[in-house]
Every structure is written in structure tokens, then in C-alpha cells.
Amino acid sequence: MMQKEEIVRHTFSVLVNNEAGVLARVIGLFSGRGYNIDSLTVAEVDVHEKLSRITIVTSGTPMIIEQIKAQLGRLVPVHKVRDLTVEGPHVSRELALVKVVGSGEKRVESLRIADIFRARVVDSTNESFVFEIVGATEKLDAFINLMEPLGLADVSRTGVAAIARGPKPL
């Protein structure tokens, strides 16, 4: 048996050809090999070259993280794989839409907290708000936790988009 190793969390940026089945390949790789997906986002980022960027947040032992990088690189439609966590500072952001239902004191309190977190109200009725909040995963977690006792009814999150700091592109 292998010695127990610490579990670390890493963020990968993967540039792929935007072709049929490419996401299935990436997801199949993770499920087939038993890797974790903490978050996954994908969208086309270059219309002319037909390139999509996938951001994956994953966790595992350092050996698994290295395997994940190599396995992603092995997929034929993959152009680049960058482990943002090891390759220097990076920014990661997530967006959440959070529906809170309630009245009276709780309603006021939810607005007050939204203000502190710089969440915007994007929809409101007499008995509900939908907040839009952008930030690091931890910030969104904290906000959602605080909303729990105040009538949290629904959450939709985008997953993480990440990019390296500084002038260098991927």
C-alpha cells in the first residue's frame, strides 16, 4: 500500500479544440480514472481558431495531480494544459445567483449582508431577492452560508474561471 499523502487542491486551465465530444473526453477521463472534479467550466474563447477553455478545480495527492496534468495533455484535441496553482499567482472568480425568500427583519438583514459582500440585487419581489455575487469560491461559500438562516431558497453557481496574473497569456 502507498503511504498516505496529503490532499491538495489545484486549478487547471486547459485549451482545447471546440469539437464534438471534447468535454465528454475530459469528464470521462476524470470519472474513468477516479479523479475528483470540484468545479468545471467551459466556454469557447477563440471563435476564429475554434478554441475552448476549460477550467478545472480538482483535488488529489501530488502524484495524482501530476497524473491529471499528463492525462489531460494526452488527449488528442488538447492544446495546452496549465496547472495554475503551481505556475505562479492567478486570479479565480466564480459567479453565483442566490435566491432568498423571506420578509421582515430577515429580508432587511439579507440586503445588509449582500451590501457587505458587494452582491447585487438582480431580481426582487415582495417576498424574494435574487442576488448576483462574484468572487473567489470561498467568498461565495461564505455568502451562501450567511443566507442560509435568512431564507436561502435556491443557488446557481457557474464554477470557477481562472487566469494567471501578469502579462503572459496561456
Partner: protein, 586 residues
């Protein structure tokens, strides 16, 4: 520039011809009829009609492994494609270049549960290096050329191209192979010179070096085997090979320690355990080779040469990784070694060889041949002896006979040994031998088989007859799924649950029913004559060689054990109970 407009099926044939394809192994059906029509109209490419699609893929693997070319398969949609899946995964695990064309229902019916529809790209995604569904006739030719490129470059593997019938019947413009430049796929061929220097530095300080080489050397081509031999000769380092690597270094050379791993030799496994610098060349630290990981070569520095970064640090952490093609890296390594005039501590190397000599003296493959019942090892030794000097290719099925074949046959050249290593597919050997014989019509091609495995693709005898392929099937008939029986003896108190080969056919009559030749050996005295006759007959032959039913394959490193906990023979078994951790392993 005027581009040719052709039907999809015409383009398939043209693209295959332009790729230099000479043979297709296939089986027809509704979805691929347009391609079969084109096959009918031409005579450049030969079609071999197999009797089961799984066999088509194994035959293509045999063709590919014995020639270094890409093997080509053509099957219909639905059941044709699903029957091919085992073969595809087999090729994936053993890094064999195969292009498999599958028929598909017309594009407008995809997703409708149409007749003989299967989600072929979905099903084969995890068992191919890459796959394609062609939805545009103008992309068809380019896709085929790309598929050949992907299949044979970098770490080779199987590629599936799924072809909807409307694409085959519709028109498109044809593109030749020269224009292919892949957008994203770029395998690394040359190794990083700094790393190579580092490796040479490590090796020049070694006192107990070992070259551990595998299938990647064969994948790299015959030149890589020559470079490996050259490097081993100039350094006088001992060499061990994996099951997939046999033939990459001459088996009869005194520097060869035999196969490593679960059923490898005593000397190879002890050298692996005790070495201080190991160079893994085109091998992947498979669990059959490493044994218990935390006890694997505990005092060694490790260098790993591999073309696939995902093979590096997967099971075993290495100290120096060189990503690149074996041939290219070895060439550079030899240059650096020479230019630095590197050499090892000769006294230390002498002492190492002396130690290895002592391990060798255990004579771990020894067996006792009586004067009646044939020992499987003896039959193989005679087979080895009586085929010497000929151009001989051996394939195997899976089981004890496979391991004995690996231990007792000698391979001095690459590409002569074909076996299912990674997937361990029973039923591989006969169709693989068929593929070899198609590529090498004048060679002697022998499938070393078990009586259970051979039943898995026995229908291919009919294909051998049709195309006059004089493949020899040499069955070591122990009337057991011997490998299963051996594990049951070792791990499950000798309860032989469902591992007896009941109701076997009379293999001699079976051969005759196919129109082939059947021979039988029951006694030691008959072995030589039967082998000689088998070789002389220029037709397909099945030899039913009755061997000792209770013989077990040794040495053996039980799963979960370390190299130095090897069992050498039946007497060892009782002494060392298998750990619980080991019991769960396969």
C-alpha cells in the same frame, strides 16, 4: 486547384490506398456495404474476411506488431462495432497502432435507436487513443489521414472512425495525406539533452546498474533494439525485459537476465530489487512488474525514458524522467556516454555480475521431466529448439502457457513475439497469429495456446483455411484453466471452482472438421515428432499436446508481495501465506 469529388466510400478506399494500406481485416454489414462495394471494384487492397469482429482487431494487432505498420479493421455498425471493443481495448493497453473503421446509421437517424445503431464513439472513447464521428463528407479524407497519423505516432494506439452511411454514399472533396498537420497533437520525440546528461552522470556512478526495458523499445522500431543492444554492450550493464519487451534485446545474450515481474526469473527480480541505478526504457512500471510498491527497488535511483508523460511517476516516483522516443533518446545517450568517456566502476560492476551469477545459479526455471507425462515447459523447450534458425513468430493466448512461453522461448529479434499483456485477453493468440501470417506468408507462425483460451476464437480456423494461412496452433492442454487453478490453489484453499475444462472437443477431429491438420502428443516420446510434423505441413495445424494437469508456473511473486518474497516452487507455497492486502489484488 481542382479537388476531386468522390463518394465517401470511394474516398475511404482512396485514402487507405494513399496511406499504403495493403490489408484490411473486416466483416460486412448494412452500414458498410458502400465500402464493401468499393473493395469489390479494386484490387490494390486485400480484404481478409474474419469470422468475428474481435478477431479482426486482434488480427490487425498481429499484423501491426509484426510489421511496425498500422493494422486496419473494417466492421459494421451496432454489433459489428461492439464486437470489436475488446480488441480495441487490447490494442490500447499494449500500445498497438490500429485504425478501425466502423459503420454507423445515417446522420439523420443518429440518436433515434435506429436499427443496428450504437453510440460507437461513446462506447469506444475510453478504449481508443482517439475516435471520430464523421459528419461532413468534405472532412472524411482528412479525418482518415489524421487517424493514421495519430495511431502510429507518439505512443501508438487504436483509433476509431465512425462513418454514417449517408456520408459513405454522399459526395465530398478528397484531400491527400500530405496536407495533414494536426492542430493540437504534437508528440515529443527528442529527449531533453540536459536530462540525458544527468542520466549518464547517474549511470556512470552506478555500482549495481540495471536496464529494465519494455514494449516501448519495440514500438520505437528495430533500430531502437539495436541501439539498446549497443548501449548494453558498451556499458556491460545487465538487461531485463518485460513481457511486452521480449525480443527488444537478444534473449540468448549472456547479459540478458530473463523476464522480470510476477513470473519473471529469480535473477531478474533480485537484480531489480537490489540495483542502485535503474533505467526504465519504454516500460511502464506495471503492477505485474513492480510487485508491492513500497518494497520496489528500495535502494535505487530511477531513470525513465518514455514517450508518454502520463507513464512517468504514475506508479513509481522516478529521479530522472526523459520524455521522448526510445530510439532518439538512446542515440543521444550513447553519444553523450562516448563524448564524456563515461565508464563505470569496473570492480563494482564485476562484483554485481558475480552476485547476479549466484542468483542465476539457482536455476529458477528448473523442472522435473519424467518419462511419460509431458511437462509444458519441456514441450516449449523442444518447440524452441526445433524452430531455431527459422523465421519464426510466436503468439500466445492467456494463462500459464503464456507465461511458460515467455520463460522458455528465446527471442533474439523484436516483433517476433505477440502476446496480450495489458488486458490479458484470452482468444488473442489465434487471430493475432493470423494477422502475422498475412504479413509474413513464408514465416513459421505458431500460436502457443491453452485449451480454454483457444475456444474463445476457434472460429478463425475457418479464416485460416479460406486464405491458406498455415498458422500452427500448439495447445498445451492441461484440461484446466491452469492460471485460475493455480490462484485457487494458492489463495482459495484448493477449491477449484469452475476452473476445470469440461466437455472439451476432440481437437484433432476439430482441426479436421475445419479441413486443417490435427496432431496429438500424449507422451514425452511423441513430442519431437509431432512438432517436426507440425512444422513440415504447409497447412493450418492444431496440435493437442496433453501436459501435466497439476503443473504450476514458477517463479511467482504473489500479488502484494515484494520481489525478494518470490515463490520458487511448490515447496515455498505453504511457508508463506498471502497477506490480506495481496488477496484483493488481481
Amino acid at each position: 486547384m481542382a479537388q476531386e469529388t468522390l463518394t465517401g466510400a470511394e474516398m475511404v478506399l482512396k485514402a487507405l490506398t494513399d496511406q499504403g494500406v495493403e490489408v484490411i481485416f473486416g466483416y460486412p454489414g448494412g452500414a458498410v456495404l458502400p465500402i464493401y462495394d468499393e473493395i469489390f471494384k479494386q484490387n490494390k487492397i486485400r480484404h481478409i474476411l474474419v469470422r468475428h469482429e474481435q478477431a479482426a482487431v486482434h488480427a490487425a494487432e498481429g499484423y501491426a506488431r509484426s510489421t511496425g505498420k498500422v493494422g486496419v479493421v473494417l466492421v459494421t455498425s451496432g454489433p459489428g462495432a461492439t464486437n470489436a471493443v475488446t480488441g480495441l481495448l487490447d490494442a490500447m493497453m499494449d500500445s498497438i497502432p490500429v485504425v478501425c473503421l466502423t459503420g454507423q446509421v445515417p446522420t439523420h437517424l443518429i440518436g433515434n435507436d435506429a436499427f443496428q445503431e450504437a453510440d460507437t464513439t461513446g462506447i469506444t472513447r475510453p478504449c481508443t487513443k482517439h475516435n471520430y464521428l464523421v459528419k461532413d463528407g468534405n472532412a472524411l479524407a482528412r479525418t482518415i489521414h489524421e487517424a493514421f497519423y495519430v495511431a502510429q505516432t507518439g505512443r501508438p494506439g487504436p483509433v476509431v472512425i465512425d462513418l454514417p452511411k449517408d456520408i459513405l454514399m454522399g459526395k465530398g472533396s478528397y484531400e491527400g495525406p500530405s496536407k495533414v498537420q494536426h492542430k493540437s497533437y504534437r508528440p515529443q520525440i527528442k529527449g531533453d539533452l540536459n536530462r540525458i546528461e544527468e542520466a549518464v552522470e547517474m549511470l556512470s556512478k552506478a555500482r549495481k546498474p540495471l536496464l529494465y526495458c519494455g514494449g516501448g523499445v519495440i514500438n520505437s522500431g528495430p533500430a531502437a533494439s539495436q541501439l539498446l543492444t549497443q548501449f548494453a554492450k558498451m556499458t556491460n550493464f545487465p538487461v531485463t525485459l518485460t513481457l511486452m519487451g521480449l525480443g527488444a534485446f537478444p534473449g540468448s545474450d549472456p547479459q540478458f537476465l530473463g523476464m522480470v515481474g510476477m513470473h519473471g526469473t529469480y535473477e531478474a527480480n533480485w537484480a531489480m530489487h537490489d540495483c542502485d541505478v535503474m533505467v526504465c526504457i519504454g516500460a511502464r512500471f506495471d503492477d505485474r512488474v513492480t510487485g508491492r510498491l513500497n518494497a520496489f527497488a528500495p535502494n535505487s535511483k530511477k531513470i525513465h525514458i518514455d514517450i508518454d508523460p502520463s507513464s512517468v511517476n504514475k506508479n513509481v516516483q522516478v529521479d530522472c524522467a526523459i520524455i521522448g522516443d526510445v530510439g532518439h533518446v538512446l542515440e543521444d545517450m550513447i553519444k553523450v556516454w562516448k563524448s564524456r568517456q563515461a565508464n563505470v566502476d569496473a570492480a563494482a560492476l564485476d562484483a554485481w555480475w558475480k552476485q547476479i551469477g549466484e542468483w542465476r545459479a539457482r536455476d529458477c526455471l528448473r523442472y522435473q521431466q519424467g518419462d511419460q507425462i509431458i511437462k509444458p515447459q519441456y514441450a516449449l523447450q523442444r518447440l524452441n529448439e526445433l524452430t531455431k534458425g527459422r523465421e519464426t513468430y510466436f503468439s500466445t493466448e492467456v494463462g500459464q502457457h503464456q507465461m511458460w512461453a515467455a520463460q522458455f522461448l528465446t527471442f533474439d529479434k523484436p516483433n517476433r513475439w505477440l502476446t496480450s499483456g495489458g488486458l490479458g485477453t484470452m482468444g488473442y493468440g489465434l487471430p493475432a497469429a493470423m494477422g502475422v501470417q498475412v504479413a509474413h506468408p513464408d514465416a513459421l507462425v505458431i500460436d502457443v495456446a491453452g485449451e480454454a483460451s483457444i475456444m474463445m476464437n476457434i472460429q478463425e480456423m475457418s479464416t485460416l483455411m479460406q486464405y491458406r494461412l498455415p498458422v500452427k496452433v500448439f495447445i498445451l492442454n492441461n484440461r484446466y484453466m491452469g492460471m485460475v487453478r493455480q490462484w485457487q490453489e494458492l489463495l482459495h484453499g484448493g477449491r477449484y471452482s469452475e476452473s476445470y475444462s469440461e466437455s472439451l472437443p476432440d481437437f484433432v477431429k476439430l482441426a479436421e472438421a475445419f479441413g486443417a491438420v490435427g496432431l496429438r502428443a500424449d507422451k514425452v516420446s511423441e513430442v519431437d515428432d509431432v512438432i517436426k510434423e507440425m512444422i513440415e505441413v504447409n497447412r493450418p495445424v492444431i496440435v493437442d499436446c496433453a501436459v501435466d494437469q497439476t503443473e504450476n508456473c514458477f517463479p511467482m511473486i504473489p500479488s502484494g508481495a515484494a520481489h525478494n518474497e518470490m515463490l520458487l516452487g511448490p515447496a515455498d507455497q505453504v511457508a508463506k501465506p498471502i497477506s490480506e492486502d495481496g488477496m484483493v489484488l488481481v
